[in-house]
Structure formats: C-alpha cells, structure tokens
C-alpha cells in the first residue's frame, strides 16, 4: 500500500520557517498571522496535490461543491495551528483561549496514576495539549510520532524547546510499543494519532464518509494487549486564538479476543472511525490530511 503522505515532499524551506518564527516571537502573533494570508493564497494557487485531497474530503463531508474559499480556510486553519506550535513551545500559553470539554474522566485516571492511551487524529492540533496543564502535572506523557514527516520544521521548532524530543517515541522500531508500555506502566499517558497507518503496519479498512479508507490497527491492538483505558481527544481550532479541546472516554477496556482478532479489531476500529466522523462534521476545516486519504477507494 502506498503511503502518499510520506511520499509528499515537505513544502517549506528552513529560511522561511526561521523567518516566520522570528516574526512570531519578536513582533507577535498578530503580525505573524497577517503573513498567513499571502502564504495560504500561495498554497491555494500552487499546491495542487494537497488541494485535490482537501477537495475530496470536503466534498464528502459537506455534500456540496467545494469553493476556493473553503480551500483557503483549510490552509489557514492548518497554518494557524502550525504557527501556534511556536508559541506553545515557547511557553506563551496566554495567547490562547481554550475551552476544555469532558476532561474529568481523563483527569481522574491521571490522578490515580492509571496509564491511559490518548487517541487523537490529524483533525486539529495535538500540540495545544501542552497548554491544558496536563503536561505540567508531572506525569510522563509520550507521543508516538513519525519523525520522517516534516523533519525541517520539527528541527526548527525543536530548538525552541529541546525537551520536546524527549516526549516523542519514534515509530517503526521494534522497541516502539515496548516504550509505550513502559510509559503506561508508570501511570503515564501515551498519545497516538489513529487516522494514518504507518509503514509496515497492518491496516484496517473502514467506511469513512461512505468510502473505504485504511486505518491503523496499532492503537486498538495496543489498548487491548495492555488493557488500558482509551480516551479520545480532538483539539479543534476555532479561529483567532480559540481552541475547543474535546476529551471523550472511548473505552475502559478494549477487549479483542486473540482467537477472533481480525473481527474484534475491525469492530473497535470502526467505533473509533465513527467518532472521528462526528468530530470531522463539527470542524471540517480542521482536517489536516492533505493527501488522497481514501487512496481513490482502492
């Protein structure tokens, strides 16, 4: 299976990122946000592959023709969250106006030091979790992440807060899931994004807005093997400095019997995909998978 999001070259140059960072941190969020307009117009005009992916997604969610304004809004939401990563890594949390919903089930478990799997997606921004105070609760929190994606950007941002790298578990190594287990055993949180299958990972085909797409099997397998609760999170960008952070207790235990693994995995993954669909409808402009997500229904 092709992994088109991996194949897509990172668009953006080091000098451009560094220049943007300088504007953001010296001249402020307002000045930096003004620059997002020409940047997003550039992407609307020239980033055809990404635009095609966005159009397919929006067409299936909105059920109407997709306009150039829709495209622009998509790039603008993405660019805004990307820019905000800089402020988050620099610790400037006061820039944001956060609404946090249903965090209690998660916080109860954090207080009991019960390891939890935090399952998100590329709908919205996960970096904003930093501003929720979860990270300052002195519990280990690790994020399973593909590091091949956007290496230049990650390096530029990593300079802002070198501890960022400590909180990442790189995927694709034999030890990846062992690391996740050790973090959960210590009562920590392990974050995963459940919408992009990784290289060599078994994928689960699910109906997503009426068409078959491939979803990763890792999150549900991990939850079932380690018997940890799964809490969904969606950090939706709502314009300006506003973010709505939704938590949702997905399952206390994900029970997938070994003898019936394929079927159990299918059912649990479909349940996640249903929730993902619901949040996509809440904030379609937050869909940041800018590639052919359905792989043309292969």
């Amino acid at each position: 299976m092709s992994k088109r999001w991996l194949a897509q070259r990172e668009r953006g140059h080091r000098w451009a990122y560094e220049c943007m960072l300088w504007v953001a941190l010296r001249l402020g969020r307002k000045a930096a946000r003004a620059l997002l307009y020409p940047i997003c117009i550039y992407y609307v005009l020239f980033s055809w592959t990404a635009s095609r992916g966005i159009k397919t997604f929006l067409g299936r969610v909105l059920q109407r023709p997709v306009t150039l304004t829709d495209l622009f809004c998509q790039y603008h939401a993405f660019a805004s969250t990307l820019l905000d990563r800089a402020f988050l890594l620099a610790g400037r949390y006061h820039e944001f106006d956060l609404t946090i919903r249903d965090a209690k089930p998660l916080l109860d478990r954090v207080d009991r030091q019960q390891g939890c799997l935090l399952l998100g997606s590329h709908l919205g921004s996960f970096e904003i979790l930093r501003a929720t105070g979860l990270i300052s609760r002195a519990i280990p929190i690790k994020l399973l992440m593909h590091q091949e994606n956007a290496p230049i950007l990650n390096e530029v941002l990593g300079n802002l807060d070198p501890t960022m790298l400590d909180s990442i578990i790189p995927v694709g190594e034999p030890e990846t899931m062992l690391r996740a287990k050790e973090c959960l055993d210590e009562g920590g949180l392990v974050g995963m994004l459940g919408d992009r299958p990784l290289k060599h990972e078994k994928a689960v085909p699910c109906q997503f807005f009426g068409h078959t797409a491939q979803f990763p099997s890792g999150p549900m397998l991990l939850a079932s093997i380690l018997k940890v609760p799964v809490v969904l999170f969606f950090c939706l960008y709502r314009g300006g400095g506003r973010y709505d952070i939704h938590f949702e207790l997905f399952a206390e235990t994900v029970n997938i019997p070994r003898e019936n693994r394929a079927q159990g995995l299918q059912e649990w993954t479909e349940r996640y995909v249903h929730r993902l669909e619901a949040y996509c409808k809440l904030a379609p402009s937050n869909w940041f998978n800018f590639y052919d997500f359905w792989e043309s229904d292969k």
Binding site: R179, K181, H200, I225
Partner: protein, 93 residues
Amino acid sequence: MEEWSLSNQAPFETEIAQLLVTTLNLKVEPAKIPPLDPLFGEGLGLDSIDALEIALVIHQNYGYKLRSDDPDNTTIFSSLRSLCEAIQKNRTK
C-alpha cells in the same frame, strides 16, 4: 534444502519459534523459520506490536523482562537465534 533448514534450528530455537507462531498467530511452520533471518521488517515481517507481545510472553514464560532502553535491542531482535541467546542468558525460570 528443506531438510537442511529443518535441522538448522537448535532445540531451544524450535521451542521459541513455536511460541512466536502461537503467540502471534503466524501462518508459518515454526520449524521453517530460518534462525538467522531478520524477525522485523524483512524476513518474518514482524512489527513493534508483535515485539510487545513477544516481550510479554517471554516475561511470563521465562521471567526475562525485555526493556526498551537495552542497548543490545538491535542485536536481540535481529533474529530468532539472537533472541534465543538473550533469553537463555537472562532467564530466571
């Protein structure tokens, strides 16, 4: 060639090969897993979820706890033979 590869596994390697096949529900004959072939990526094609399950079952059966920060992990996970050597060196039961 087939006969040769069957006899190529040491008895403990056959035992672990059997354990891998049962635990991971692999569609191969345990005796046909070449002891020097890579377990991950190429070769047997295991992934890190499989590694986690192997680690759990090895801990349960042999009392050896594989750790993610073990500097020898690349070697340990490189083949059936090296995995078996690590188990035999560190087992407590």
